[in-house]
């Protein structure tokens, strides 16, 4: 199925089909859910995070474990490493930690693809894209992306905001500078009509699929969305005191949440890199985890300020994990069994850890229904199961779009939220 069909299927009016009647008003009354998918790229060390391991039989899994034990926040165990305590102590109530997730690969690209889409097949959309694609018609920037390992699945046009807040601010109202405008409104209207008609006429004549697609996207983008001013207003209203806004992940989170609040976006794909700590692991990994933790804390703080805490869903995952031992260079290498974290406020199934690994970070089989260890008849948790849960949580598992991206879980549905 090509994109055109997918767009039709999803109820999106193609520009060429109904260009004059489509109302592109901002969905100010949208009361649904928002999603932030967070890519922790390079493979995080879950044994120093949400699946903490102590050293056993003289084998050093973690240096911190030489002097410290495992900490617990609520019902969630975590490693006393980096600033983990800040995150877990503050937000354990919103966390569902899923341990023992097998990525079945040690290759970064394959691992990222599997963990962020639920499939190792190329072309599957990230969860963030899948969710946004089901709602995109009424949002000017339904999906915000920030690079990393992202696939749109060809079902949605993502939006990248750039890296500089000030620059982006100037784009929100392109005809305005301070209190003045560059062009009068009546001129803008005349020019918009001229531009739209030309593109529409050419769309009717175009015969090459890519040309058609470009013109369809152009026409959608050309619409003047009234809620960019609201984006600007909401952005100004956020109090970022105490947070380092030079940190890129903090900026990504801020844009995403402001987009949600102002009605421009419903989904965001955020990225933090450099977790591939083959050497000097403790030092380098702690630095990256600290930034990641701070950004998650920041996101929930902003969500609270904006009053959208109960509508925010966060899926955090990495390529896979790191070895439960150090290499000769003080680093940790690749290990296929890792974790994922789902965060949501105000639900009964958080403040919980599901999935289990042994002392050597090998996964036990689980009964999908009661989530208990079941060596005889259980199933090894995989990334596809986590993403399948993500689809269910976001209410898109039965969306027609998703039929084209079967996660092939063979009917296994882990009841993480029961």
């Amino acid at each position: 199925m090509n994109r055109r069909d997918l767009l039709k299927l999803s109820g999106i009016a193609l520009a060429s089909a109904a260009p004059t009647t489509r109302l592109w008003a901002a969905p100010t009354d949208y009361q649904g859910q928002f999603l932030i998918q967070m890519q922790v790229r390079g493979a995080w060390d879950v044994a120093s995070y949400c699946d903490p391991k102590l050293n056993k039989n003289g084998k050093i899994i973690n240096n911190w474990a030489k002097t410290k034990g495992i900490e617990t926040a609520g019902n969630i165990a975590y490693a006393p490493f980096a600033n983990n305590a800040d995150l877990f102590e503050k937000h354990h109530d919103k966390m569902l930690v899923i341990n023992g997730v097998n990525s079945y690969t040690n290759g970064h690209n394959a691992g990222q693809q599997y963990n962020f889409t639920g499939s190792t097949q190329a072309g599957y959309p990230n969860l963030s894209a899948s969710f946004a694609a089901t709602l995109q018609a009424d949002f000017p920037m339904p999906l915000l992306v920030n690079g990393g390992t992202f696939s749109s699945g060809d079902v949605i046009v993502p939006t990248r905001l750039g890296r500089d807040i000030e620059t982006f601010n100037t784009l929100l109202e392109p005809n305005v500078s301070g209190t003045k405008q560059y062009l009068p409104d009546e001129d803008i209207r005349a020019i918009d009509n001229f531009r739209t008609k030309r593109a529409r006429d050419n769309l009717d004549k175009a015969s090459i699929a890519a040309d058609k697609r470009f013109l369809e996207d152009f026409l959608i983008a050309n619409k003047s969305f009234p809620n960019f001013a609201e984006f600007k207003r909401v952005l100004k209203s956020v109090d970022t005191t105490g947070f380092d806004m030079r940190e890129n992940l903090n900026q990504q989170m801020l844009y995403a949440l402001v987009g949600f609040k102002s009605g421009t976006s419903v989904s965001a794909d955020t990225v933090i890199n450099a977790f591939d700590t083959h050497s000097d692991h403790d030092n380098l990994h702690a630095g990256r985890l600290t930034k990641a933790n701070n950004a998650i804390i920041f996101a929930w703080e902003v969500a609270k300020q904006l009053g959208i805490t109960d509508r925010l869903n966060m899926f955090i995952a990495s390529d896979f994990a790191r070895t439960p031992w150090y290499n000769d260079g003080g680093g940790k290498d690749h290990w296929p069994i890792g974790s994922a974290i789902v965060m949501k406020s105000g639900v009964s199934w958080t403040d919980r850890v599901v999935g289990k690994t042994d002392d050597g970070l090998k996964a036990y089989k689980l009964n999908p229904n009661n989530l208990r260890r079941d060596d005889a008849n259980g199933v090894i948790l995989e990334s596809k199961h986590v993403m399948a849960f993500g689809r269910r949580l976001m209410g898109i598992e039965n969306d027609p779009l998703m039929r084209n991206f079967d996660l092939r879980t063979d009917g296994v549905d882990f009841k993480f939220d029961y």
């Binding site: 079945y104 690209n109 990248r160 020019i191 090459i208 152009f218």
Partner: protein
Amino acid sequence: MIHTIRKPFTPSWVKSIQRLSCIALTSVLLAACAGEDTVSSSSVPTDPISSIASSVPASSVPAPASSTPAPVSSAVQSSSVTMVPPPNTNTGQCSNRAECRVTWPQATGCRDKGTENSLCICSGARCDAPTPPSSASSVSSVAASVPASSSSVSSQAASSVGGGLSEQAQRGKDFYAAQCVLCHGPSGDGGGAGQTSFLASITVGTMVSKTAISMPLQDATLCNLNCAKDIKAWLVGLHGIDTGDSSSDAASSAPAQSFQIRRSKAEDVYRRASILFGQGVPSVADLEDVKGANYGELKAKLKGLMTGNGFREFIKTGANDQLLMRGILGVDYRFWFLNYYPKFRELVEAEANRFIYDSALVSELREEPLELIHHVVKNNLPYTEILTADYTMVSHEMSRLYNYPTPVAKGRWVKGQNTGQHVSTANGLPSKDWNNSRLLDFPHVGILSSIAYLNKYPSTATNRNRARSRWTMYHFLGYDIEASAPRVNIDDADDSENPTLNNPACTICHITMDPIAAGFQDFNDKGLYRTGNRALDSLSRDYKKTDLYENGQTWYADVLPAGFNGEDTPQGEEPLRWLAEKLVADPRFGPAVVKFWWPAIFGEKLYATKSDEELVKQQEFVVDVAKKFKNSNWNLKDLLANLLMSDWYRANNLAGSGDNTEAPLTYSGNRLLTPEEMVIKQKSLFDNAGLYDANHSGAFGGIDSVNIESRDRNMNVVKMNVVKANSYRESCSIAFKDFDKPKATRSLFPLVELSDEAEPKIRAQLVYLHERLLNERHGPNAKAINEAYALFTKLKENAEARGNTRLIGNDYLCAGERNKNNFDTKFTFAAWKGVLVALSSDYQFITE
């Protein structure tokens, strides 16, 4: 130069697997070893135009000879050699590696130490492994294990030929045996450690197209659509898979559709190429000169555009989009410079602020490999030199680092050598001060030995250059070994005895990856050359503390030695230089170069399309154009010109029957411009880069090579707002400056004065603007001009209603300009300004 004293031992059977990978993982079975290209020239259309503009049902796509590899099946039938190791004769013999070494000096470990099952391991094999079979028999031995059908899974291929298989299924089986079995097991369902099943993709219907464009991973040109269907036919029968198709070859029965491509005119291609290569929008006279040019003339004209700084930036930007050299940020390698580059230390100490010098230096180091590529292309040198050049390019700051004999002016790049590194002492760092006796002879090997390349893909004590190996294969062989990474079963992840040598779950990739990694053995983790042991090696210090290390080693004894495709680097050869020569001689190199440069021209990755027919045509085109590239003595300008001359670039519309969305050509060379290309276009038309500069590059889809590594090619709201903001902000000033010039020298408004209100003049000026800005040619009474004239009139009426005759209205801005009274008495400036806004925010303006 000091060379390796002792190379690590490679057991012969490992070499046989490497040779197998040479065959199964590289090119065509026998051709890979014979140096021949078995893709029949007769199967490849020599005219790229006809390869697209055709009425082609899938079944009529000519099959490359590789889809019926007769030599393979004959090898299969004739062989009965097995690769299964002999009965274990050394079990229960060892409790540590030292014990093994008594019998087998080359032993690398003892598996299951001290148990009754212990055995000595020699680089992956038990130490009493047999002498390996020849490479041909190695292949056939694997092929021999491929089952013929579901009813004879255990039978040998030798006895199954003709055993009930259709001709198509037999072809598929034969090809599978030669190219697929190593990674996917004997029957497509994985089976062995490290092997992956792809049977599910048959069920969901993606197997054929994916195989046709990407398999075998090592040379995707080997298996076209028909070949993929052959394999599918065999596996469907073998496993009884219900595909939902009425046949295993459903696409073949699709009705033929007829399409004709309307090609862009010569002047249109020239215009687009001129922007692409940084020359800007050509003058009216230049475009007139190109009109009617035939194939040879146009190609020559296109090559004529490949010059100057514009082309330099095209090459460097296009190369960086792939290599991401501008993303090296780390500072730690510069601390190494303090110890090994005395001139660097002197300069740093002389600077009041060392970071200023650091920043200047790193900004030039990033450009070094890109400049080398440009140097090779600019001077029509064989493109292979980007990997084999025994020199580098040196800039102002680098000339000081490299102790270049003469100063290099800022902004200039010259061919030169790195003569700035000192040799270390045996147990310590080099002396602080410059000493000619300690000068090190740095062996340049194209971009592979550049500090930027090595730092973009740094190594560690355990990574051991594997990232460098991975990316080198990816960039220069078009082979993504990570994409071939099999599913790792944790139960197979036995790390106890050097798994990359001994565990099949790991060796499946490492036998290909590690010898190439070893090619980089002379460079340390940070990319400095032979920093250890009096410039003998770059081994990690931790490794040297182990009992594996012996003085004189240059590579790790527990990693496969340097080599390529099963061939070890000969003693006495510089490993990286030898590797580079092998890379450029590999049949994958040419197609990989096409793949590398495709996005710079087309704005899409190669094989981004989802149409099966188009994929196959594209694949055939790549084979063809890569051959021409090689025959041109690897002249990249010639390759680029051939890409531009192809219908992949020239098609601008289709005509014919059927639903065009299913046409074999789904995209053309016409595409959204990048921010860099928008700057070129704007500057050439307006002498104004506008908002497409670095500040807004990210918002318009550009990359920063660090966090954003791939371009966003889609049109979206933010990009549209960049377009709008640019036109709103800049148009007033641009129009004002142009009208401020004498009419004859204006670039935008040479046909009117602000006092002109007569319709014919206005229409003539509109025709001119449409041609210049939008590459549209209309008559004065054409529909497009009628609409533009209506816009002009409307904007003029709006201005009249406002009644403002000043350049800048009371409430409106004209960026950078001072106000002028009684400037717009006829209200035509407001109208022309608005027209300029409209045209510079038009869809045609941002595409070419």
